[in-house]
């Protein structure tokens, strides 16, 4: 999904390819649901597709997804933003401060503004002053953590329900439940029928007590895809990440687009912070993001710098997180899913003729199967590692399929055209 035009008259080769890609998404989802369903029935771990688990998964995925979208915006314009973590932290503080004083809607805006401030700093350093993107990102993470800790102590200590390291009792944002549909689907989910109950669980999670912020995030993902790939603004922004000199030679104001990208990036990360403070938890605490900015970055890479890929990766990471917290025993059942998945993929690769990778994958799959059969539980901590290990494995095994923007991370100076 690295393209563009609305071409209804003659479906081009690329348009067909994209169509195929969407079909693949649906196929993967269907296979996943069937596999989960089989495992649920085989092991009796009903939690793995329970509506509540899936709802928790979505809650866990949202901040990761926002950070990932933030990373996507800036990297598509050629700026690596590992300052997402710091920008997210600024967002948690902004959400708490503005919600306390002006209510939750202003809180959301305040969080985005604080995050964007972090983005602006990153932009100043990397765009205007040509500092290495990683260096600037590291500095912003230090500043972000320091600033939120300091500002929390300075402001929240005197607030009602506040303290130097936290602020609770904040007004929440509304949740939406689709009446009728929600209850029906939930009871269907409880029946334990093959696939049908599992799908019902998924739909129930999507219709029961959904935060308006979650809906907003869904809109953001779709908007991101549309803006970046179907508008001239998006084309210009992406061109800055692919070949900024070419873009400038055509009159594109590269600095401006990079600044917009990095501001949006910081703003989205800040919104992710708001989600943590206002929706996922009942208030602000110091260092609340706790590495989610980095996981968002990982989700973006796993998702191949593509909004829907990032969505999928975030949901996967969110799902493992939810399962870890809600039902450690169900995690054990998940081992079987992983084993089946790996073995199936290994068989597919073997069929394609990639013997070596098929064997490697098969062995890993077999190892998971042995693990499943010889143990009764998985240490809770190991599940927490999932996003990191999965990302490392994806990078190690499939890096040639990843397609970062060509000029990603390179310092560009105005006037380099020609």
């Amino acid at each position: 999904m690295s393209t563009t035009q609305v071409d209804k008259s003659a479906p081009s080769e690329r348009a067909r390819k994209i169509g195929g890609m969407y079909r693949t998404y649906w196929l993967v989802m269907l296979v996943a649901v069937v596999a989960l369903s089989l495992v649920r029935i085989a092991t009796g771990a009903d939690d793995i597709t329970a509506a509540n688990t899936l709802r928790a998964a979505i809650l866990s995925a949202c901040p990761i997804l926002l950070a990932g979208m933030g990373g996507l915006w800036s990297e598509r314009a050629g700026i690596v933003n590992i300052g997402l973590e710091g920008q997210m932290l600024l967002g948690t503080w902004g959400a708490a401060y503005f919600t306390y004083n002006y209510g939750p809607w202003v809180g959301l805006l305040g969080a985005a503004a604080m995050g964007a401030l972090g983005g602006l700093l990153h932009g100043l350093a990397t765009i205007t002053f040509g500092v290495d993107h990683i260096v600037s990102g590291v500095a912003i993470n230090i500043i972000g953590l320091g600033a939120t800790t300091f500002l929390a102590e300075a402001f929240f200590s005197d607030y009602q329900y506040g303290g130097p390291r936290q602020l609770t009792g904040l007004d929440g944002l509304p949740f939406v439940t689709v009446p009728g549909l929600s209850d029906g689907l939930k009871s269907l989910n409880d029946q334990g029928w093959f696939v049908i109950s599992d799908l019902a669980g998924l739909l129930a999670a999507l219709t029961t007590k959904v935060s308006v912020v979650t809906i907003l995030i869904a809109v953001i993902v779709v908007l991101t895809a549309w803006i970046l790939w179907h508008t001239s603004f998006g084309l210009r922004l992406r061109s800055c990440g692919e070949n900024p000199a070419a873009a400038e030679s055509l009159g594109v104001n590269v600095y401006r687009y990079k600044y917009v990208a990095v501001l949006v990036s910081g703003g989205l990360a800040g919104l992710g912070g708001a989600f943590l403070a206002l929706v996922a938890a009942s208030g602000f605490t110091t260092n609340q993001s706790n590495g989610r900015g980095y996981i968002g970055l990982a989700a973006m890479i796993f998702g191949n710098w593509n909004p829907f890929g990032t969505l999928g990766a975030s949901l996967l990471f969110g799902y493992t997180d939810a399962l870890r917290l809600r039902s450690p025993s169900a995690v054990h059942a998940l081992l079987l899913v992983v084993a089946i998945g790996l073995l199936a993929y290994a068989a597919w690769r073997f069929y394609q003729g990639a013997r070596t990778s098929a064997i490697v994958l098969g062995l890993i799959g077999a190892a998971f199967l042995v693990w499943f059969l010889t143990t009764d539980t998985v240490p809770r901590e190991f599940t927490g590692m999932t996003p990191y290990v999965v990302t490392l494995l994806v990078l190690a095994l499939a890096s040639q399929r990843l397609r970062p923007p060509a000029a990603d991370g390179q310092v560009y100076r105005k006037g380099s055209a020609g």
């Binding site: 690295s2 393209t3 563009t4 035009q5 609305v6 071409d7 209804k8 008259s9 003659a10 081009s12 080769e13 690329r14 179907h230 508008t231 001239s232 084309l235 210009r236 992406r238 061109s239 692919e242 070949n243 000199a245 070419a246 873009a247 400038e248 030679s249 055509l250 009159g251 594109v252 104001n253 397609r403 923007p405 060509a406 006037g415 055209a417 020609g418």
Partner: protein, 517 residues
């Protein structure tokens, strides 16, 4: 391809559009410590091809960046169609119908041809069907044969150039600036380009054609302006001027040309390749079954269109790539599996194609650059230790012997001009008793004075009994320096020529597979 309906905005293009006259009056541009342009006067008549010629470093590039709004002139004015204009950015230049085709293509590989064309000009035709129709109609009108949805990374050099021209036309440009457009093309592709340019002229476009290749200029231009040392030194009309006269105007004196003195070729083989084959990850051959010998005191020239395996050949001989099969002998020794350092230690000097990326540490002082590539040999080191004073002393020697113009050896390499950087590299590579010199485009991007010096250093190396492998895109340089020329095409050696009797046209034919020797 379906016949494109005439786009609404483009209906007038059927009629001949009359390009305005462009005048550059008294243009001047200074950079810190350098006067790039002064008192430049150029007038481009409507619907003509106007050639701007001059040696590398004469100020042509700066001038056209000024005309295209990339840089702002310090003095002088630009007039387009009788109105004075000042350009802050390329957008302003595009706005009055000036477009530019850069020598190094300005294309994003990961975007499609259409996206590249549309970028920056979305307001004209949108980014959807209308833009596609316009793209296809331009492509058809001028016979470019480009498809809109192809990824640029899949396009060849000539197609990329056509896409660059299409990009400019897409914006409705009436004046096209082409910066050394033939540098990347083989003679046959040049002919096709010229056909395109004549077509454009017939449609009423003006073209500013920048080059230092006089034959081409005489073949295509209606007017010629000559630049030297940052200013315009004269103008001429083809047919009333000879190549020699133009050359003298460009250089200001006799045109230097490399000429080999009597042969110094010995019968001792210094470098021998047999059956060298290099395969990439996808299993395609980058080099196929290459065999040749270079004797002591011999210069072997490799001619070929860029991207036909020259870079791979050099990197293979230098031990930077592992060959798939075949054998390389250096003197008596089998060096097939040697790494770069070991090869360098046994006397292989290397003048890389891209000196900024491969030859220098740009932000390090000259004396540290002296050590680069000689990290294991005196006088730079003593055992595992760096010998600072030895390296510094030897750097002073190189600066003196090779006439490197620098305030001192603590100056960073980046501050030197291209020619002086190259002289430093040659001085370094000639240190430590080399037996083989690999010179890849040794005079690319250097000024005339340095060019002559570099040629004489290479000739001296040959005289001293070195074997020299010379790769160059400048066919005159190859013919002038080499004792023998091999032509490489798609990773194969396709012909051997005697420089005494070969013309650039012959080489060009062989380089494109047009004829075997």
């Amino acid at each position: 391809m379906p016949a494109a309906p005439p786009a609404p905005g483009a209906s007038s293009t059927e009629a001949v559009i009359e390009a305005p006259e462009v005048r550059l009056i008294g243009i001047g541009k200074r950079f810190p410590g350098v006067i790039a342009n002064h008192d430049v006067e150029v007038t481009i008549r409507p619907a003509t091809v106007h050639a701007l010629i001059g040696e590398n470093g004469a100020g042509k590039s700066t001038l056209m960046k000024i005309l295209y709004g990339v840089q702002k002139p310090d003095d002088g004015t630009i007039e387009v169609g009788g109105t004075e204009r000042s350009f802050r950015t390329p957008t302003d230049a595009i706005g009055v119908g000036i477009g530019m085709v850069f020598q190094h293509f300005m294309l994003a590989d990961n975007l499609t041809a259409l996206e590249n064309a549309v970028l920056g000009a979305e307001k004209l035709h949108g980014i959807g069907d209308k833009a596609r129709a316009e793209f296809e109609s331009i492509s058809e009108r001028y016979g470019f044969g480009l498809r809109p949805d192809v990824l640029v990374e899949k396009l060849g050099v000539a197609d990329r150039q056509r896409l660059e021209i299409l990009k400019v036309l897409f914006r409705g440009a009436k004046v096209l600036i082409l910066d050394e457009p033939t540098a990347v093309l083989v003679p046959q592709e040049v002919d096709a380009l010229f056909a395109n340019l004549r077509d454009l002229r017939a449609h009423g476009h003006s073209i500013l054609f920048i080059s230092h290749k006089l034959d081409e200029v005489l073949a295509i231009a209606d007017d010629i302006t000559v630049m030297r040392r940052g200013t315009t030194v004269g103008s001429a009309v083809p047919g009333e001027v000879t190549k020699q006269e133009l050359a003298e105007m460009m250089v200001g004196s006799e045109l230097p040309s490399p000429e080999t003195s009597e042969s110094t070729v010995t019968d001792v083989v210094q470098l021998s390749l047999s059956g060298v084959t290099l395969t990439d990850d996808a299993g395609r051959d980058l080099l196929s079954d290459i065999s040749f010998d270079i004797h002591r005191g011999e210069i072997l020239g490799i001619a070929g269109v860029e991207g036909n395996g020259q870079a791979e050949l050099v990197e293979t001989v230098m031990g930077m790539r592992r060959l798939t099969s075949g054998r390389i002998l250096l003197g008596e020794e089998d060096v097939t599996d040697w790494d770069t350092r070991r090869l360098r230690e046994s006397g292989v000097g290397y003048i890389p194609e891209d000196r900024h990326r491969h030859g220098l540490l740009l932000d390090s002082p000259l004396w540290e650059n002296r050590i680069l590539g000689h990290q294991t040999r005196p006088p730079s080191v003593k055992g595992p230790w760096i010998n600072r004073s030895g390296a510094r002393k030897d750097t002073r020697r190189i600066v003196d012997e090779y006439d490197v113009r620098t305030p001192g050896i603590d100056t960073v390499a980046r501050a030197l001009s291209g020619g002086n950087q190259q002289k430093l590299i040659i001085g370094r590579e000639m240190s430590g008793d080399p037996v083989l010199l690999i010179a890849s485009h040794p005079t690319r991007g250097v000024d005339v004075g340095a060019q002559a010096a570099i040629w004489s250093h290479i000739k001296r190396a040959r005289h001293d009994g070195l074997a020299v492998l010379l790769i160059s895109a400048d066919l005159d340089e190859l013919i002038g320096l080499s004792d023998r020329i091999e032509v490489i095409l798609r990773g194969r050696m396709v012909g051997t020529f005697d420089p005494a009797g070969v013309t650039p046209k012959d080489l060009g034919a062989a380089m494109t597979g047009g004829g075997e020797a």
